[in-house]
Symmetry: D2
Subunit: 341 residues, 4 copies
């Protein structure tokens, strides 16, 4: 940490900052400059209460050196984490798994058809919501436990791993019972009670980036899960809020190499929510793999025209089949491969 | 709703859209133009599944006419809602209540001192967190139930109403037991399970705007609470994410008149979180009242230098006393008054 | 400046950074920490080429201490600058001038009527575009030189000072000839050729904040004008881009106290462009004065329904008259007054 | 266009809107609904002055159907435009040209070395600034005309096409004399005087997206150039402003397929400015080609450590050589190829 004093700070101001740093158990190091003084602080400054120091008289700003997340950082664990949600479905290695399926589980026929199509096209995991966070209380909210049972049925029929969202603690317990990976949605990325709870469960967690979350925020939310003892966290880029209504979200693919430098956790991308538009999903899924994504989540529906939610961003089964072929070529171009099981 | 077709849409495309509108129970009205056709839809289009129609062949875009929120809208209820959280502490009328207190409840002495200072300066409600949503799992997380007991003690000592945050359903039940108003924080604005739960409780809810929430999102989240039967919702502007790091958030005061036109619910402003900087709190609190805010939330700490959280944005007691005086003048300039009890 | 090394940086990496700092003429000061080393740099680091150092092996990040603007900073000139654009029309003192008028100069009758209404209501300067930057090349682009002549005529008739926009160098020369203050619009805030040019003219400059400009960017653009020898720069907050389409822009009133702390230059606010909606102009103009704005720019049109541009955000003359009355009360509440001449 | 009335709008309000639509030369079509009336407008609504209608009594909102740009739209010209800036260097076809070079032209040796390295690695055009728009007036501003002469020399030596920026009209005339393509930078994207001027020149224009420009804004700026008679416009995505400081900008690759659907103009991507970080350039350049970019702009410097500007985002020559190889494989995966000459 570096405390930058104002040019007109008095020596009493400087002394007070030094005393406070000492009081907090650290060693201050004043650096007098031509125009102003800065005060360095040696040691692990993640524990310093900088907000107090920032408010002291004569302080211009506080520059934080340490990253506030720890277990999620590459400095804590340099080697890449590989999260295996089911036999052979590994995120973070050289293979890139494709997770696909409808926005919501609707009927037995719909989800079984979808699962078979995902499997046939080359996907290795099935996504589909049983609990749906909808902006409007009047929109379809999902089938709940019955949806989970249908997902489990689809797994028995096809062998696909199951990834599905939980919105609260009770839901997370149920999801952990039926599925292979608990998804935490963008709207709950800073629902710390829920994060702590899934940190105590034994299932991998797929944590989606919030709509206005910085990479730092995302890694801090992952830290909540890790700090409770669950090391199996997969991060997911799914677009952030922006000023242009041309797309639903701004799909931030640079987040992929940024996360991969800062953290050992795998990061996947969701071009369906990231763009919100069916005809943008294929190019952006290709771009995500080219950028180095450790997996892809795609919405596909047997009959998007009849979907109860998000139909406009779901691929048709044929489009999904074509996409997987393209992704195989892109992956090989960067020395990776699309996971097959 | 208006479905805008592409210029090259075929008549079969147009027919298909009309059929789908009919299938959903509405009446389509084609409007042929010089360059392209648009299709109007008569009736209450809040129930239409537009996302499906948007994905049909030949469709260029779908323009939504109805607002997706209902009970929160002025069209549903033209007269202003007044939420009274304790005798005389009314939000939404001509009086403007001031809610103040520390970021966190820390000790009995701290909270009692703060409460007496708030009371003496002219505040009518005490804020202070017992459950704290912190970005980092390693930061101080609040005293929990003990904090609520201290808040209740402060109420007995001073007569101030109590506003405090709940982060999950269990916490909300506890807060409802001890406090006068349940605050839902920005990070939980779209935690729909929690919103539904507080909708079933009998206490007023203060709902903070999420960091990237549109006004529409905020009103839809209020709709979750209203739709469960709790009509006492106070909205709160507290700043949104932006590209400029000069302030912690971008305090969107225009949200106040915007909400007041769209909704009958009261809206208050929190300049402490809205700016994140102590020396910006006073001018922006004045600006909020001048813009028509139905109440003000301010962080004040007996000794900000020793605060366990957010010390840098807390006012000193003297600053708060001066602020209340200024607010009285500003309120009278627009024909309102600061609530006294 | 502080160069933060990666935890695994070698001593060769550290030496190289120190050498580079020395090569650039500064003195490096290594600060070994528990986890990593940081390297302080003593002296005026505004001249350091940090981008090169940031790219050196082993460097984690570079923290800049000095502000990149100089003449615009309060550290350079602690006393407030007062810009007088015409006798008695002073920005930056305790008096707050109101500048009003139509978006565009349209006809002699329109601009003379507007000027008389502005004068009668209590405004001291007339705004109105002769050169209009329009998003579409097919929209009305202004009357050009003829518009300037009409503005000069309005000044002779009413005594109001004239503020009008220039979009290029030739236009700036013309504006300087006819008007009292050259406005640089948001879209040209980083048109450095134009900024340098108006820096060589003898007229005050009103510089509007760009749609995605940070406060730092705004002050750096002001620095372009100051560095050419023109000290009379008035800054203007007029809203920034955001994700919510509820208003045209997000009006950032906190920019007012932020600029006032960092810079000695006056800052005014434009609630008409800042909100884009007529019925939000009055509350937000009040809020701007309450926040401490050094002046207000408002669009008013004799007949907004017939305006050739931006009619929907122009006040009716009666609304403007009422607004000025309200602003007098708000100004007095904070110890200031609205300028009268 | 659809004018949506408020639920409580009177029939007089409705009549007035219809009259105004008629007055502007269009045909109104009232659509009475259950809750409110909407009024359709038939014909080419790009010419309607909607801002006035939006301000009429009883109007809730105005929904615009027509796109405001014309010549830039695919509806105007369905077939893809191919811009050839030099023999064989075509943007918009199946071949993808790579443009590379240093941020600034610094010396004869530097630019000749860079040009030879670009050529050897497989680039077909040289970029390099002679006129540099710098945030600070004190930073290096480019060599000006001498820089253009050095670029022309590099073209004679290597056969590479030249792309370089102009900041004002005089500069554009000079650039047109020496180079093959005039770049308009992000800061000048809405400098309409400059856009009009380059619209009258005979050289292709590479138009960079502004820092907070929507796709719509970008196409409207292109319209300024097209409307003056210059059909050769290449658009460029280079990142937009965002709330996360983890990267300099948010690189919006979805803009590529979005533009390709709306417009016939080619669009290229600049991962160097789009990310601002050298180690993110390679993955994001790959992602851009995978997303369908019609060309790539990359900063490469013979010795980035010694660059006078933007050194931290310039690739080393070896990195650039490796990147071109990777791009060839990615391009072939989507049925395209990297341009060779």
């Amino acid at each position: 940490m570096l405390v930058v004093m104002q040019p007109n700070a008095s020596s009493a101001d400087i002394d007070r900052v030094c005393e406070e740093i000492t009081r907090q158990g650290f060693k201050p190091l004043p650096l007098p400059g031509e125009v102003r003084t800065a005060i360095g602080l040696l040691g692990d400054d993640a524990k310093v209460d900088w907000s107090y120091i920032e408010g002291l008289p004569g302080v211009s700003s506080v520059l934080i050196v340490q990253k506030p997340f720890r277990q999620a950082s590459r400095e804590w664990k340099p080697e890449q984490t590989i999260v295996e949600i089911a036999p052979g479905v590994r995120f973070g290695g050289s293979e890139v798994p494709i997770v696909a399926g409808p926005c919501s589980v609707e009927t037995e026929e719909q989800i079984l058809t979808a699962a078979r199509q995902v499997k046939a096209a080359g996907g290795v995991a099935l996504r589909g919501g049983a609990f749906k966070p909808r902006s409007s209380p009047y929109a379809f909210q999902g089938l709940g436990k019955q949806g989970l049972e249908l997902l489990a049925l689809a797994r028995r029929e096809t062998g696909l791993a199951i990834v599905t969202e939980a919105m609260d603690e009770r839901g997370a317990d149920l999801v952990a019972e039926y599925a292979d990976c608990i998804q935490i949605g963008a709207r709950n990325m800073q629902n710390y009670s829920l994060l702590r709870h899934v940190g105590t469960l034994k299932k991998p967690v797929l944590l989606k980036r919030g709509m206005a979350a910085t990479i730092n925020d995302l890694l801090l939310s992952a830290e909540y899960v890790l700090s409770e003892g669950n090391p199996n966290v997969i991060l997911c880029e799914r677009g952030v809020r922006t000023f242009d209504s041309a797309t639903r979200n701004l799909f931030d693919l640079t987040a992929i190499p940024v996360v991969q430098k800062l953290s050992h956790l795998p990061i996947v991308a969701d071009p369906s929510h990231g763009t919100g538009l069916r005809d943008k999903v294929t190019p952006m899924a290709r771009a995500a793999v080219a950028a180095g994504a450790d997996g892809i989540l795609v919405e596909m529906h047997p009959t998007p025209d009849k979907a109860l939610s998000d139909g406009a961003q779901s691929l048709y089964p044929d489009q999904f089949t074509d996409l997987v072929k393209q992704l195989r070529t892109i992956a090989s171009a960067i020395g990776r491969s699309i996971t097959s099981i």
